[in-house]
Symmetry: C2
Subunit: 486 residues, 2 copies
């Protein structure tokens, strides 16, 4: 597996011939930005950076890699959270960037379909949809860099899952290059097709370990007519759960997002963003950020709907106070408070971050039970949970005690804290990775806590579809787990 | 593979011990009804009929079969359309009925979830949901016999796919016994879970070739407040397509079903059902059956919505005439006309039936192009298409010329006709099985026309998850396709 320059010369020369100057480089300066993951936790090395311009080139490249036994790490915007697109330190792998494949092949308004190549950036897709008076119903913080290929390969989530589902629910068709260089083409969307296993479902969320996604046919919805954003102050997360049920019952067709924010996180954001201000007076233990949307010509329904919803919630004692954003600017400001939590918490000090889910109905209870257990087990730490309550998915962060040395604390305490949180989540029937995937960072934890039956199935499928093990080795699934290695 | 009584004695004795008298029989009289498929095209034989009462027994039985190399044919209500649950004639397989596992384990109204064992009959599920003021948004003609296990294993469709998707979209969690007898348990529904490949997606629609579904967690929706059923007469199927787009644009949130019926099929039904009468005066080339539904307390919206929709459609020349069912009884009568097409056409004479899909936007054009091509190629035949226009899925029947001998015509002409239709569908980018699956009946056609890349993937997955080939051999996917055998 180690990179041996001489042994690799025939491969490198063939790759350079295949891809040309724009498509292949070994220039360390050009490669360097792509060797470290977004969160800065992993830095790897590679044989070279390939940037093919179309699916046929990807297929030819994968065939070349297969024949030379060269591992392939596919990469999109390099904004993944789990190191899944970062090569290991051996330097034996080829880094395969899909960013040059950034063409929107077709956009069909009547059918509500858009075919994007893997390198199309989420924000560009959103803008193309908007220009056609349509919308793509998935968004997330990294939309300016995240690519369609990466979003599909990691089954990305975001803030609209409550109503529209994860990336899996948006994918109508898929094109991918398999481990032997063959092209799996199921881009044509058939609403009903029972010709055997739904193979594209296996590729979605497989983090480049079963194939390299080269294009996807995604669903578009008619653009909304308007939105309305509510900020509510509550006493407990259990009340937030009741408020969610209330909103689902009263405004099911309009409820687009429901996020919860604890007092600690709001305070951190207000410290972090000098121009930000709290939407409500007074202190509240928890906050709920609720987005309602209306179809075109139905915008007028939103204000009375929101007012009735909040009046009833106040009556029933579910909320302590609430405000409705008076303008789109204010709505954006509310969302900024939510989106700034992660960087704001990071600015305070080191933290161990966990992206976990439990059944939706159990999430409030889980948070209330888990926080004191974690804080008792790790004295001085502060546990916070925020995020997608309506999806049963919170970001569960354990903040270091004040005054610890950044880097040292994570090294000494990090693993024990994460194991403790993951054990808890597993006991609650939950997932140690709700939306960020496994990548490198959670591979050992998945092997430790995952259902052995599911792990066995995954290994069998991986072995069957990538018998040489050249697709993103060391990520998500290892056919033969090795103790000690990443 | 041939059944050798002596060689099988240890297996049979162990199976009888494991399952007890109620759980295992070799009585030909008890077994006979389950050896012929619903359409009467295949009759097989088996070693015995196993009817385990719980998942643990299924697991133990599969382990027993694995150790003795005994093939397993899982069966639910035996109402499948493709012979997928009928054993072959060798008699070497065990018929595994899931019908005794008919417990609804849990029903959670707040979460909108119901956990059904594999043998729960669809109609019983629907009634249990209704009793809790909820509904299960999938239905089909065989609801009185079709079981949850069969519906999941065949990714069943039906008449509500337009709005709610196929069975795949209803499955929140799954429990299945794998080829080695291990139990895959992902019944706990997590709205977000990115711990690797979504394995349950592989089991859905795999027709018992990768595992035996023993239970499913299914989504429930709040019960509707009311429905309204429209019958419209149109000149062409292209107008039906325009009417569908019109309805989707004006009544997206209410549109639950959109079926098309040609004049020939309506006439056949009126001949077949003595009490039935045509909803409209005069002759129309095509008919559309449209169902609109409203949530509780919104029923009053339906009548004006329907009237406006039809007035605009008349103005735009999309329809020739239309009527709105004046009562629930009349609504049922309209639906009966649709549901009786298959038996009515069968009563006229022999027909080759094809369950095909193409992209939704292309279906009207496909039907208009395919009918004259088929009739020209097979003189005297009549081609008709009816069904789920909104899903891009029609049932494409080729009726024999008058006077042919039933049985003989199918034997002489059937294969050529089906190949011709399947070739056409494939050229249009469609599927030779939209909702009925592959089973035995379409296995060779799938091998002939399927994408070789997809077939190779399917075989690799099958080989990986069922290396001994004991799960429903000869159905859906053959690791080594054999010429001549079924």
């Amino acid at each position: 597996m180690a990179a041996q320059p001489d042994a690799n010369r025939p491969f490198l020369s063939a790759a350079a011939d295949l891809l040309g100057e724009r498509g292949f480089t070994r220039d360390p300066e050009l490669i360097e930005p792509w060797l470290t993951d977004w969160r800065g936790r992993y830095t790897g090395a590679c044989l070279g950076l390939a940037s093919p311009c179309n699916t046929q080139k990807v297929a030819a490249l994968v065939r070349l890699c297969a024949s030379h036994g060269v591992p392939i790490v596919a990469q999109g915007g390099n904004s993944g959270m789990s190191g899944g697109a970062t090569p290991d330190e051996s330097g034996s792998a080829l880094l395969l960037s899909l960013r040059r494949m950034d063409t929107i092949r077709t956009l069909d308004v009547e059918a509500g379909e858009i075919v994007c190549e893997a390198g199309v950036i989420l924000q560009d897709l959103q803008e193309a949809a908007a220009a056609a008076r349509m919308r793509f119903p998935l968004t997330l913080g990294g939309k300016g860099s995240a690519t369609i290929g990466g979003l599909v390969s990691t089954n990305a989530g975001g803030t609209q899952v409550l109503r529209h589902g994860t990336m899996r629910a948006q994918v109508l068709g898929l094109e991918a290059v398999l481990a032997d260089g063959s092209v799996f083409d199921s881009l044509t969307p058939l609403k009903k097709d029972n010709r055997g296993f739904d193979l594209k479902q296996m590729l979605i969320g497989s983090e480049g370990t079963l194939g390299v996604v080269t294009a996807a046919n995604l669903r578009l919805l008619p653009d909304i007519g308007g939105r309305l954003v509510i900020w509510a102050g509550l006493g407990t997360i259990a009340q937030a759960r009741q408020l969610l049920l209330h909103a689902q019952s009263e405004a099911a067709g309009q409820l687009e997002g429901f996020e919860v924010i604890p007092a600690h996180s709001l305070a951190a954001v207000l410290d972090h963003l000098p121009d930000a201000r709290a939407p409500l007076q007074g202190r509240h233990g928890w906050h709920a950020l609720i987005e309602l949307v209306a179809e075109a010509d139905e915008e007028d329904r939103l204000q009375p709907l929101a007012e009735n919803l909040l009046a009833a919630a106040l009556d029933r004692g579910l909320i302590e106070d609430a405000t409705i954003a008076a303008s789109e600017t204010q709505a954006e400001a509310f969302w900024l408070l939510r989106d700034a939590i992660a960087p704001a918490e990071r600015a305070i000090g080191p933290a161990m971050q966990h992206d976990v889910s439990v059944p939706v109905a159990a999430m409030a209870d889980f948070v209330e039970a888990a926080i004191p257990q974690v804080e008792a087990r790790f004295p001085g730490s502060t546990a916070i949970a925020f995020g997608h309550l309506g999806d049963g998915n919170v970001h569960f962060h354990v903040l270091a005690p004040p005054g610890v040395v950044r880097g040292e604390w994570e090294r000494n305490q990090g693993q024990a804290i994460s194991r403790f949180v993951h054990d808890l989540v597993t006991r609650w029937g939950g997932s140690i990775s709700a939306e960020h995937g496994i990548g490198q960072v959670k591979l050992k934890e998945l092997e430790r806590l995952g259902d052995p039956v599911a792990l066995t199935m995954m290994r069998a499928v991986k072995q069957a579809l990538d018998p040489k093990g050249i697709l993103n080795p060391g990520k998500l699934v290892r056919v033969a787990p090795a103790n000690g290695s990443a």
